[in-house]
C-alpha cells in the first residue's frame, strides 16, 4: 500500500490554500498535479541542456536529443511497445486526429463502418464523425456493454475508461470481435494509463493514445502508439522540417517512423520532463496506485451514499465518481465545494452522448490520484453537507 500523505509532500501545489483552507484536489481526471521531480526536470532542461533536437553536432543538441529519445524509450517500456511505435503529439486529441487523417483518409470508403462507444470523450468521437463525413463511411455508436460489431466495421475507437463513470469496456472482447472482421482497434487510454498497467502486446490493439498531463507529466505532450507495420504504410499528418528524408525542389521523401509523424520542433522540454513522471509512477507501482484508488473509491461511495439526496454514477473500484444532487445543479455543487477548498469538476465532461444516456444535463465529478487521502474525502463530504444545507 502506498503512503499518500508522504507522496503528497512531493507535490508543491498541494501546499496551497484556497479560500483560506488547505487545497483538496479531486479533479485528477481533468489533469493531475506534478511532483517536484517533474517541475525540476523542466527548469534543469532550460538551464542546462536547451537546444534543438536531431541533426545537431554540438554537445547541447546531442544531449537534448539523447534525453528526448530516452523518454520515447521509457514510454515504450511503460506500455510494452517498441520505440519506433511511439509518436509524440500535443495530447490525446491530436493522436486521435492524426490517425483519423493519416490512416482514416487512406483506408476508409463508402460502405465502411467506424464504431465508437457511447462512453467516448468528444475527442474520441468528433474526429471519427468528421472522418465518416469525409469518407462516406457510417458511424455506429455502441451502447455501454454491447460489443456487437456491424459486419462492415473497419475501425473500433473505444475508451479504456470513462472519464465520467470510470466504467471500463471489455477491451478483450472488443479486440476479439474486431479481429474476426479484420477491423482495427483504437484505444483512448487517457484515463487509464496512469492508473493501471497497460500492455499493448497483451491487449493487441492497433492504436492507443494518452496524455502525459493526466499521469503527473507536463501539459503539451501526447502519445500515440501504433503498430509499426501500420505507421510505415500511412502518410504523415503534418509536413515540414524534421519529418523528411530527402527534399527535392518539387517533391520529398519521408523520414522513417516515428520521425515522419513529428514535423517541426517538438515539445522537447515537456517530453524530457515526462520521463520523470514515468519514473515516479514506476517507483510507486501501478498496482499500488490501483489498490489505493480502490480503497478511496469504497470510502467515498460509503460516505456519499449516506446522503439520500445523492445519486452516484460510477464503477466499482474506479478513480472516478460522478454524482448529482436532487436539490442542486452540478455548477452550484462545484462552487460550494470550491468555497470549502475542494476542487472538483462539474459539467458534461466532454461526454454529451453519455449525459443523454444518463438523462442528466451535467454531473459533478470527483476523481482521485495517488496523493489523495481519506481525509480528502472527509473534506469533500463536509462540502457535500454544506451544499445540501444551502439548497435543501
Amino acid at each position: 500500500m502506498l503512503d499518500a500523505k508522504k507522496l503528497k509532500s512531493q507535490f508543491p501545489i498541494l501546499k496551497r490554500e484556497i479560500k483560506g483552507k488547505a487545497l483538496v484536489y479531486l479533479d485528477n481526471a481533468a489533469t493531475t498535479q506534478k511532483p517536484h521531480s517533474v517541475i525540476k526536470a523542466l527548469t534543469d532542461y532550460y538551464e542546462n541542456i536547451n537546444a534543438n533536437v536531431h541533426r545537431g553536432i554540438h554537445t547541447l543538441s546531442e544531449e537534448a536529443t539523447e534525453e528526448y529519445e530516452q523518454t520515447r524509450n521509457a514510454v515504450a517500456e511503460f506500455i510494452n511497445a517498441k520505440e519506433e511505435e511511439i509518436v509524440f503529439t500535443r495530447n490525446t486529441t491530436e493522436s486521435v486526429n492524426l490517425i483519423a487523417r493519416s490512416w482514416g483518409d487512406k483506408y476508409l470508403k463508402e460502405g465502411d463502418v467506424i464504431v465508437v462507444s457511447a462512453l467516448e470523450h468528444h475527442s474520441n468521437l468528433v474526429p471519427w464523425q468528421t472522418l465518416a463525413k469525409r469518407s462516406g463511411a457510417m458511424l455506429h455508436m455502441l451502447e455501454p456493454g454491447d460489443y456487437r460489431l456491424p459486419a462492415q466495421t473497419k475501425l473500433v475507437a473505444i475508451t479504456s475508461m470513462s472519464n465520467v463513470t470510470g466504467e471500463k469496456p471489455d477491451l478483450k472482447t472488443v479486440v476479439a470481435n474486431a479481429r474476426a472482421l479484420k477491423a482495427l482497434v483504437f484505444v483512448d487510454a487517457a484515463q487509464s494509463v496512469g492508473h493501471e498497467k497497460t500492455d499493448v502486446q497483451e491487449l493487441d490493439c492497433d492504436f492507443l493514445a494518452f496524455s502525459a498531463h493526466k499521469m503527473l507529466g507536463p501539459t503539451g505532450v501526447g502519445v500515440l502508439y501504433a503498430k509499426s507495420e501500420i505507421l510505415k504504410n500511412i502518410e504523415p499528418y503534418q509536413y515540414g522540417g524534421g519529418m523528411i528524408k530527402v527534399v527535392e525542389d518539387l517533391s520529398s521523401t519521408w523520414a522513417d517512423i516515428p520521425g515522419k509523424f513529428e514535423a517541426g520542433t517538438p515539445n522537447i522540454a515537456d517530453v524530457i520532463a515526462f520521463r520523470k513522471a514515468l519514473e515516479f509512477l514506476t517507483e510507486i507501482g501501478l498496482e499500488n496506485i490501483q489498490a489505493h484508488e480502490k480503497m478511496l473509491h469504497e470510502y467515498a461511495v460509503e460516505k456519499f451514499s449516506t446522503h439520500p439526496e445523492v445519486t452516484l454514477y460510477t464503477s466499482p473500484g474506479s478513480p472516478v465518481i460522478s454524482f448529482t444532487l436532487d436539490c442542486a445543479h452540478p455548477h452550484d455543487i462545484a462552487s460550494v465545494f470550491n468555497e470549502e477548498g475542494v476542487a472538483i469538476r462539474a459539467g458534461h465532461h466532454c461526454c454529451q452522448p453519455l449525459m443523454r444516456r444518463l438523462k442528466v444535463p451535467a454531473t459533478a465529478r470527483i476523481s482521485f490520484y495517488l496523493y489523495n487521502t481519506t481525509e480528502d474525502i472527509d473534506r469533500a463530504e463536509i462540502a457535500l453537507k454544506k451544499v445540501i444545507s444551502i439548497f435543501k
Binding site: 445543479h329 455548477h331 468555497e339 459539467g347 449525459m355 451535467a362 439548497f391
Partner: protein, 123 residues
C-alpha cells in the same frame, strides 16, 4: 458563503415569472453548452411598443435561473431599444454578489437570451 445569498436562493427556489407565453412577440432559447443550462425567454409588448409581460422557462444552476428571474422583473415598461442597450452590470447589480470568472456565463445567460429575443423580432 457569499455567492448563495438569501435573495438568490429565494429566486431560485421560488422563481418569479417562470411561465411560457403563447402570444409572445419576442422569443429566444439560449444554452450554456458547458453545463447544459437552458433559458427560454418570452416578451410581450403593449400597443406603445413597451414590454408589458416578460417571462422565462428553463433549468440549470441557481445563478442562471435566479439572474433570469430577476431580469424578467426589470423588463416591463422598457422599449426594445432600451432592452437592447441593457448592460451586463445590471445583472451583477441584481445578483448583488461577486461572480467569479467561471460563473459569468451562468449569470449572463438570461440577458443573452433576452438580447436574442429582441434580435429575433421582425423589424
Amino acid at each position: 458563503m457569499d455567492l448563495y445569498s438569501e435573495i438568490i436562493l429565494d429566486y431560485y427556489k421560488n422563481p418569479r415569472n417562470k411561465e411560457k407565453q403563447a402570444d409572445a412577440q419576442a422569443h429566444a432559447i439560449e444554452h450554456n453548452p458547458s453545463c447544459g443550462d437552458i433559458i427560454e425567454i418570452f416578451l410581450h409588448f403593449d400597443g406603445a411598443g413597451k414590454v408589458d409581460k416578460a417571462t422565462y422557462e428553463g433549468n440549470g444552476c441557481a445563478i442562471s435561473q435566479a439572474a433570469t428571474s430577476m431580469l424578467t422583473e426589470e423588463l416591463p415598461g422598457k422599449s426594445k431599444e432600451e432592452i437592447a442597450n441593457l448592460d451586463n452590470q445590471l445583472i451583477y447589480d441584481l445578483l448583488g454578489v461577486p461572480i467569479s470568472p467561471g460563473r459569468v456565463k451562468c449569470a449572463l445567460l438570461g440577458l443573452v437570451a433576452v438580447s436574442s429575443a429582441i434580435n429575433n423580432l421582425k423589424p
